[in-house]
Amino acid sequence: MTAVIDVAALHKTYGDTVAVDDVSFTVEAGEIFGILGPNGAGKTTTVECVQGLRDADGGAMRVLGLDPATQAAELRQHIGSQLQDSALPGRMRVAEAVELFAAFARHPADTDELLARWRLDELRNHAFDSLSGGQRQRLFIALAFVNAPEVVFLDELTQGLDPQARRATWDLIHEIRDGGTTVVLVTHFMDEAEQLCDRLAVVDRGRVIAIDTPQGLIDGVGLSSVVRFTATERDLSWLERIDAVESISRRGEAVEIRGTGPVLALVASELVAHGIVPLDLRVERPTVEDAFLQLTGRTVRE
């Protein structure tokens, strides 16, 4: 794997406010790299500096071997950007927008193919103002791909979308990665980060507090899983002999076991060995959200 993005000690202040405080990370070719954090954590400022859309106050950056601070124009020919809070003229039509921006690309993608790929075919002659939130996001993704980029930056892609449109957008992001493009995904949605990202940088108050795979983050904070089932057996104390089990509590027939690692498999095999085969045996594994709360010690502000 080769690093396509290398950021070291990136720093950015607005007046007295430190927006980005010594942020460092690398993004490997072909991965979906997430930047996860609450609103105002400095995520957007970070990726805007990396895209050469904003000047950093300190630190070193390399994106596809180029320096965003001094080679922004060259860099923008190789990256695709879906920006937060951007728009098109209200009366500009979908196909017109794609064709217009293709005119500025050194290696423009085929506009008909782009429209078809992002399911904008039917909307060719629709004005930007008349598009729904999901349709606009599809158009912005198509625009991000108009220069056949090697890396795309997607900033809060699913903000304001209904659940169906969100799921559809997630499928699109998987499609992007399957097409070989590296994706940098900025989001404050924990489930989105967990579902989509190969690796995640957790950002809070301008600092990176952890970088790992979603599972690595969860394992790293050592939160326990909860196994639940119902059983009529009175005595289940033999379950406590399993190493992975930390505690057992009962409320009537409902049993709740806290534990770590492969606790479900171990508990299940022991239950079967004792002739107990509950139909409702299930496990609640900690999520990225749990890990995030553990790491930051507070909830995400909406």
Binding site: Q51, L53, A73, R76, Q77, S81, L83, D85, S86, A87, L88, P89, R91, M92, E96, E99, L100, F101, A103, F104, A105, R106, F140, L143, V146, N147
Partner: protein, 259 residues
């Protein structure tokens, strides 16, 4: 400026023209308002050749032509001022406010293309407006057409440059499109009233006339009227307009903001 950027500029200008055609309100204000003012002023003050010799404050009120002729040339200048002071800054500030400039920048659109496409749109709208006005004036009340066409065209181009630069500076300095609209309307109507585009400058109190005489619109009115009425090129007024173009244009480029 690569050939790709040039191709992009053509594409952007065509897109802007299409958008303008789809925006009924901007057409009304930019094209219909000055046309209506020209017709009303010509109707109010008439086309009587004897008025050409009217004198006030020791000056020829109508600069030696009929009131209708006077206002035909002056109203063409007013269109340029409206485009520069209103349309251009309102469009650009609106683009910035709504994140359209951010979107363009991220797609490798150079700043000069954004600005040049807006100026191109302004010039094309102006040409359309001026043509309509000339036809209406010619066939409506038999107005005198330019004596020195080249002199008038040069004055129009220099005026477009000056008001284009002022519009870009306004766009760079104001925050949003509402502010641009408010400031633009205030500037446009102030200039319109004291620059000889509404009351002739001869009837203005001397202080107002002197202040107006320093401002770009009265330079433009005279620079257009002189060759139009056969009084030759007015190089001092053209020079003043060039000074405005440079004085506003350089800071406008310096202060240009994408977001």
């Amino acid at each position: 400026m690569s050939s790709r950027e040039l191709h992009g500029y053509v594409a952007m200008s065509r897109a802007e023209l299409r958008l303008f055609r789809r925006e009924p309100f901007s057409i009304v204000f930019v094209l219909a308002f000055p046309l209506m003012m020209m017709m009303l002023l010509a109707a109010v003050f008439g086309n009587d050749p004897e008025s050409a010799d009217d004198i006030e404050n020791g000056m020829l009120i109508w600069r030696g032509v009929t009131p209708a002729d006077y206002y035909t040339a002056a109203s063409v200048a007013a269109v340029i001022a409206a485009l520069g002071l209103l349309t251009l800054p309102v469009n650009l500030a609106g683009y910035r406010e709504r994140g359209i400039l951010r979107r363009m920048r991220a797609s490798s659109v150079p700043a000069w293309v954004v600005v040049a496409a807006q100026l191109t749109l302004a010039v094309i709208t102006f040409l359309a407006g001026a043509l309509v006005m000339a036809v209406v004036a010619r066939f409506g009340y038999d107005a005198t057409m330019p004596d020195d066409v080249i002199g008038v065209v040069v004055a129009l181009l220099v005026g477009a440059l000056a008001f284009g630069s002022i519009g870009l500076l306004l766009a760079a300095l104001v925050r949003g499109s509402r502010a641009a609209q408010g400031i633009g309307l205030m500037l446009f109507f102030s200039l319109w009233l004291i620059s000889g585009t509404a009351p002739p400058r001869a009837v203005l109190p001397s202080t107002v006339r002197d202040i107006g005489g320093l401002l770009p619109l009265s330079h433009l009115v005279t620079a257009i009227q002189d060759p139009w009425f056969g009084a030759g090129w007015s190089f001092d007024h053209l020079a003043a307009l060039v000074a405005y173009a440079i004085g506003a244009g350089i800071p406008a480029l310096y202060f240009f903001r994408w977001d």
